[in-house]
């Protein structure tokens, strides 16, 4: 674990909708300051719910969360002062232009850096006088990102902003994000179910499935310690994470070890997508509820 201070924390976090539907089940997480963390998982894994508890949109059923040490449900304004947020579908005001959105942010948020946000949009060639209604999905996402970056918040929470973007728009979005995060020294949590896109941009990886954290590691460690293949004998001291169907229907086993020499013949290093798939497969059998 890094020595950096913890900026996002969840302790025994559980969130239930209705009487039985547990979106999150006993989440324990501590994200250190700096870098981009990918929050990966399938639909209904609880990614949005987790992010929404950090911005005070959802109240934990059990457990607690903090943002920069502040409980967002008890002190939402205090917590949000540290956060820039990009929602799942960046819904902008149809009646406003791009520059109007920046002006609105100036009015709503003390210290909003309009020039910085404008500069980010200028670099992408998004004109200020263009109506939000006429922007493409990618441009809308960029405006939402510029609004979040203009807050100069030390924590950026991005709730699947890539989901509806084409590959080029995704790449541009990630480029702007990584540039800004590294320039500002901010901490970003980017939820997505598109693993390949986040692989290059992110420093850390959280795999979420059935409302639980299945893996939390740096991307570099996740890649260096996971192996995959069809071998049934993995070798001594090698932990089998899960088995799942490969692209040709073969049975693949994801293995984990820090001792590369212990790996049996026939195994190769896993890609990040395979690591994620393996951990998602490992979560299938887990119950989606927390014990009372």
């Amino acid at each position: 674990m890094s020595d950096e201070p913890i900026v996002l924390e969840a302790h025994a976090l559980a969130k239930r909708y209705g009487r039985r539907n547990w979106a999150l089940s006993g989440i324990d997480l501590a994200l250190p300051q700096g870098g981009i963390t990918a929050l990966v998982g399938p639909n209904a894994a609880g990614k949005s719910t987790l992010i929404k508890t950090w911005i005070g949109f959802e109240r934990p059923t059990r457990g607690s969360v903090t943002v920069a040490g502040i409980d967002p449900w008890r002190d939402r304004s205090g917590a949000l002062a540290h956060v820039g947020y990009v929602p799942q579908s960046p819904a902008l005001y149809d009646a406003l232009s791009v520059d109007d959105h920046l002006d609105l942010a100036v009015q709503l948020r003390p210290g909003f850096d309009r020039a910085y946000a404008r500069q980010r949009l200028d670099e992408l060639g998004i004109p200020g006088d263009q109506g939000a209604r006429s922007l493409s999905g990618g441009q809308q996402a960029q405006v939402a990102l510029a609004l979040a970056l203009g807050t100069r918040a030390e924590i950026l929470l991005l709730d699947e902003p890539l989901a509806s973007l084409d590959p080029l728009a995704r790449r541009e979005f990630l480029h702007v994000l990584t540039d800004a995060v590294h320039a500002q020294g901010a901490t970003a949590l980017l939820s997505s179910h598109i693993v390949t896109d986040v692989e290059q941009a992110c420093d850390r990886l959280i795999v979420l499935g059935v409302g639980r954290v299945l893996l939390h590691d740096t991307v570099a460690d996740a890649l260096s310690t996971h192996w995959i293949g069809t071998a049934s004998d993995l070798g001594a001291g090698v932990e089998a994470v899960a088995s799942f169907a490969g692209p040709a229907g073969e049975r693949l086993t994801l293995a984990r070890t820090r001792r590369a020499g212990a790996i049996a013949y026939g195994l190769r290093r896993a890609t990040l997508e395979e690591v994620v798939l393996g951990y998602l497969a490992s979560g299938r059998g887990l119950p989606s509820e927390v014990a009372a």
């Binding site: 949000l80 002062a81 819904a91 902008l92 002006d103 009015q107 709503l108 939402a144």
Partner: protein
């Protein structure tokens, strides 16, 4: 652009259609009212020999009075519209404020950007309240001008004629309707269902408000003799309804009388005496009391308008506080 200017421009753009609809509607209504008032005044000035154009006074004034009455009827209709305008405008401006943000998912960005949701709501409500107050104040003024033109011989500042259709109560009722609209919009979170719900709720609130104010005014009202439920006093007083003064001096409402005895059959003679006579004959032994009407004197008009305006404004502020509470707790989608 200054911060104030920027706030005004952005607030207008966010509420463009409802503000324009309110503005155009009020402007057209006020223009027609002013035109009609000028026509009535011109007509009255053209016949100086007919001092009271609102009544048939003989002496060759009948034709003039008829023309004046015809125009005055239009004035009465317009004043009825001015009675309903604050409710319509309050809902049109208030309901979309939160409900559209939630429905269009823009609340997610706005509420995370803003220093607090209360701050966000206060800024938005302030603009809409400003628009509503300016427009309804203009309508309130114009409605007084029209009422004075239709009834030129009355002192309308001490007269309850067309109470609620003219004057500052229009503005106060608009603020109450705005509060209802914002609160219901925040609770429902979808524009059309919220609009329908708010319209229904505002009818209930208005009925409750009227009943409550009538009860409050009873303390200031006087009991006067009445015949067939109508007071034999001059116009300009506010009637709180028919009452029955029993032989023992107790004053009750007709509902209370029928509640005591469902079989009672009340008949009234020319002097306002009330009889319980199943067969319709008016015998002295069947007298149960006298017909009375509860009236608020016209001299209290300004005081009553001030009181009702304060209550309506207070109600509006209370509802807006409730809306702030809902906004603070609700999900943005």
């Amino acid at each position: 652009m200054s911060r104030l200017g920027s706030w005004l421009v952005l607030s207008f753009r966010l509420h463009r259609w409802e503000v324009l609809a309110s503005l155009v509607g009020t402007a057209v209504l006020a223009a027609v009212m002013l035109w009609l008032a000028s026509q009535l005044r011109f007509l009255a000035a053209s016949e100086p020999g007919c001092p009271d154009p609102a009544s048939y006074v003989g002496g060759g004034c009948e034709q003039f009075a008829q023309r004046f009455s015809n125009l005055g009827d239009w004035g009465r209709q317009l004043l009825l519209v001015s009675w309903g305008t604050p409710f319509g405008m309050g809902l049109v401006l208030g309901v979309p404020l939160v409900s559209r943000e939630v429905e269009h998912r823009t609340a997610g960005i706005a509420w995370t950007l803003s220093r607090s949701r209360g701050w966000w709501l206060a800024r938005r409500v302030a603009f809409l309240a400003l628009v509503l107050i300016v427009l309804l104040a203009a309508l309130a003024t114009v409605s007084e001008i029209l009422a004075a033109a239709v009834l030129p011989t009355l002192q309308l500042d001490s007269d309850f004629t067309w109470h609620g259709r003219r004057g500052w109560l229009i503005v106060a009722r608009g603020l109450a309707a705005l509060g209802i609209g914002v609160l219901i919009g925040a609770i429902v979170g979808r524009l059309l269902p919220a609009m329908l719900t708010a319209a229904f709720v505002s009818v209930l609130v208005f009925v409750g408000f009227s009943l409550g104010m009538d009860r409050w005014l009873e303390a200031d009202a006087v009991l006067v003799p009445a015949m067939n439920g109508n007071a034999a006093s001059e116009v300009g007083e506010l009637s709180l309804g028919w009452r029955i003064e029993l032989l023992n001096g107790q004053v009750i409402t007709p509902d209370e009388l029928y509640g005591r005895d469902g079989n009672v059959n009340v008949n009234e003679d020319m002097d306002g005496r009330l009889y319980n006579s199943p067969d319709g004959t008016l015998r002295p032994e069947n007298i149960i009391g006298w017909s009375r009407e509860l009236l608020v004197p016209g001299r209290l008009y300004r005081q009553v308008v001030l009181r009702e305006s304060a209550v309506a404004t207070g109600l509006g502020l209370l509802l807006l506080l409730g809306a702030a509470g809902v906004v603070a707790r609700r999900r943005p989608t």
